[in-house]
């Protein structure tokens, strides 16, 4: 897709609205509303004005809309391939993003090149939208390494598995951005921290809200509320809508339709730009649904009913973009077919490369424990190699 600057954002340069959407809430919105620009039926609302008067809008070119559609289809197709690879025993685990494509593609494409992202372990869609080879996290899930990428090179931190810990890393990094003098201008840097509804109960996440507030950190807290923390429903994490938590920490919070890629893009872009301009943090709650299991080790039929899943299927993040493109005659059957075929090729290529990943040499487990090494570890490495050498030729 075209990677040029898209036209989007808030009409007011002020901080985004504290609250949901305006007085007229979309029909499928939770109580209190959310920002929605593309309805589940594919109707483009053009713009939406929140209760405090901030207007969010997108005005993409045809190619840009088609590009977003391609992103959504591609990340879902790659995710499906990963799920299949796990089921076939080729990955130890997979954390599927199924259902959360719009939240990730919208926010991922809203990032500017200089922005830094701190993911959980599910942000494969954001990773893809950063222009990173989608195979990058597969070493982790296949068990050949623990990730192994350079956060600064890709502007995309290591996947963080302990829930919520990365929000503090993001906040510290954002403090560093300020200390480097990289805020306060339109080409400044901003930081985004991803986490889920479950993470909002973690002390570290709440500490990161405190820190970001008092240090006016140039960052966006992007919470994908997918309604469940493994089996525990949202009601076990909070008594109030999550976006309202921001008020207690002194910065704006806003809820978006997490299945609407346009809302995700517009609101995240506005919040990031506010951050880079020196206006401090924003909490975005992307209201969405995890259509699959928490991970490949989970069985969601034990804690949620089929009709609930079906009701969310009607709000699918990709179907609405397809409907929009078709209605506007921006995309025809050939286009949709080509996107599917191209995504399928990417998935096949991914599969082949995952299967070709070599197992690590066991002795490399001793590498990269300390930047300056350790004589104790050197001895253990030597002993390990000597021990294994005794088996050579013995058939073990």
């Amino acid at each position: 897709m075209a990677k040029g600057e898209r036209k989007a954002g808030a009409t007011r340069p002020a901080a985004p609205a504290s609250g949901g959407a305006g007085d007229q809430h979309p029909a499928d919105a939770p109580a209190g509303g959310f920002v929605q620009l593309l309805t589940p039926d594919g109707e483009h609302l053009g713009s939406v004005t929140t209760a405090d008067g901030t207007t969010y809008a997108v005005d993409f070119t045809v190619d840009e809309y088609k590009g977003l559609y391609r992103d959504l289809v591609t990340v879902r197709r790659l995710d499906a391939e990963a799920t299949a690879l796990q089921r076939q025993g080729e990955l130890g685990l997979w954390a599927s993003l199924l259902g959360q494509e719009a939240a990730q593609v919208g926010s991922g494409r809203a990032l500017r090149k200089q922005d830094m992202a701190f993911p959980t372990y599910r942000e494969h869609g954001v990773l893809y939208c950063r222009g990173i080879d989608p195979i990058m996290p597969f070493g982790l899930f296949r068990g050949v390494d623990q990730g192994g990428w350079d956060a600064n090179e890709h502007k995309f931190n290591s996947y963080t598995i302990v829930i919520g810990s990365q929000t503090l890393h993001a906040t510290g990094y954002a403090m560093g951005v300020t200390m480097d003098g990289k805020t306060g201008t339109p080409d400044g840097e901003a930081v985004i921290a991803y986490f889920g509804d479950g993470a909002t109960s973690q002390g570290e996440v709440n500490e990161s809200f405190v820190w970001a507030g008092v240090f006016n950190a140039p960052m966006v807290f992007f919470c994908q509320n997918n309604q469940y923390a493994i089996s525990e429903p949202l009601e076990r994490q909070t008594r109030i809508p999550l976006y309202k938590r921001a008020g207690g920490y002194g910065f704006p919070g806003i809820r978006i339709d997490g299945n609407d890629v346009l809302a995700s893009y517009a609101v995240t872009r506005a919040a990031l730009d506010n951050a880079r301009n020196g206006q401090g943090p924003t909490l975005i709650e992307a209201y969405t649904y995890r259509m699959g299991a928490h991970t490949s080790s989970d069985d969601p039929t034990r804690y949620r009913i089929a009709s609930e899943v079906e009701s969310w299927r009607a709000k699918d993040p990709i179907a609405r973009v397809k409907a929009f493109l078709a209605k506007q005659q921006m995309g025809d059957a050939d286009f949709f077919e080509e996107v599917d075929a191209t995504a399928g090729k990417l998935a096949l290529d991914l599969r082949e490369r995952v299967l070709a990943m070599p197992d690590p040499q066991p002795v490399t487990m001793f590498d990269h424990v300390y930047p300056n090494g350790s004589p104790e570890l050197d001895e253990q490495r030597t002993a390990f190699s000597a021990y294994h050498a005794t088996f050579e030729g013995s058939g073990h």
Binding site: G148, W149, E153, S158, G172, D180, E207, H368, Y370, N372
Partner: protein, 328 residues
């Protein structure tokens, strides 16, 4: 020319020099700015280096260490102060699960050079949580290096070396020795300083080896002085580095003396002394005249202050252990 200054002041000078030498060094913690820290270790630093270099943080230890990780990823070299030993546990997750693993997780592509300073140990008549010795928890964690200084000269150089190192380092400061004075060469080049991860023979001897670190080095030295009056020449090794331990120096000494006594304030069960005893047994078995003995805190929560003198290893308990070693 050497200055006679306290261990606390030596740390202050060391931190100041690190701030001067590297603009990426930042100090962060509770009360480290205006107040200069509850022990005044950072006294005057915020005034001279500004609020961006010496950062008064919100009161949350996980936040201090977690944001320091982010700053380190960004290219800074944070020095975190944990106000007291017993307050480190809210940050334990960040230290053990993130600080220790970032380099490994990234296959060496992401470094988090940071120092976590922890005033530790008892003997100051404090309330609960202010007298603990949690060094074994961190020494047990691969990816962390752990050091402890015992005197002003080491405090001055070791804090600078720790800050300059790309390894994440937990730096244990013997809080009850903060006010003890010693000679410190403030103008000596850091490059000439004794290496950070080397143990040092603090007193040479031939009859038995005392192994100590941090606040217990003083106790070991006093015990060696008294033993000498009885004709026993005790060698005292100041470990200085707890992870990794500098074993060659220890093994050489124990092979020569045939006896070893480990001293630390922390509870004995699975403490550093347990590992030292195991390693010495493995490496020096045929040289040993007696089992490696340990003089440690008891396996109880740190007791109320009015009992701490009975809890902490002291001169008599060390000499008693030496007697037992010779009586084997």
């Amino acid at each position: 020319m050497a200055d006679k200054i306290t261990l606390g002041k030596a740390l202050n000078h060391g931190l100041r020099r690190s701030l001067e030498n590297d603009p990426k060094v930042v100090i962060m913690g509770e009360d480290v700015g205006k107040l200069g820290g509850v022990f005044r270790i950072t006294d005057g630093l915020q005034k001279d280096f500004g609020e961006d270099r010496v950062i008064d943080t919100p009161l949350a230890e996980a936040g201090i260490v977690g944001t320091a990780v982010g700053l380190a990823i960004r290219g800074y070299r944070p020095v975190c102060e944990i106000q007291f030993d017993g307050f480190v546990f809210p940050a334990y997750n960040q230290i053990v699960a993130q600080v220790a693993k970032m380099f490994y997780r990234s296959k060496g592509k992401v470094r988090v050079p940071m120092v976590i300073r922890i005033p530790y140990g008892g003997g100051i008549g404090a309330v609960e949580h202010h007298s603990e010795s949690p060094e074994a928890y961190f020494s047990h964690t691969p990816g962390l290096k752990v050091v402890s200084c015992s005197n002003p000269a080491d405090a001055y150089t070791m804090i600078q070396q720790a800050i300059a190192s790309d390894d994440p380092i937990v730096f244990f400061e013997p809080k009850r020795r903060y006010w003890e004075k010693g000679d410190v060469e403030l103008d000596a080049p850091l490059a000439d300083a004794y290496p950070l991860h080397n143990a040092r023979v603090a007193r040479a001897g031939s009859d038995a080896t005392l192994l100590a670190y941090g606040p217990m080095v003083r106790v070991a030295m006093d015990a060696a002085a008294v033993a000498a009056e009885d004709g026993r020449q005790l060698e005292v090794i100041d470990l200085r580095t707890l992870s990794p331990v500098d074993y060659p120096v220890i093994f050489e000494s124990v092979r020569r003396t045939g006896r070893a006594v480990v001293i630390h304030e922390a509870p004995g069960n699975l403490g550093l002394g347990s590992e030292l005893a195991a390693r010495i047994s493995e490496e020096c078995f045929y040289s040993l005249e007696a089992p490696v003995l340990r003089v440690t805190g008891y396996d109880i929560p740190y007791p109320a202050a009015r009992s701490e003198e009975e809890y902490l290893p002291d001169l008599d308990r060390v000499l008693d252990a030496v007697d037992r070693s010779f009586g084997w």
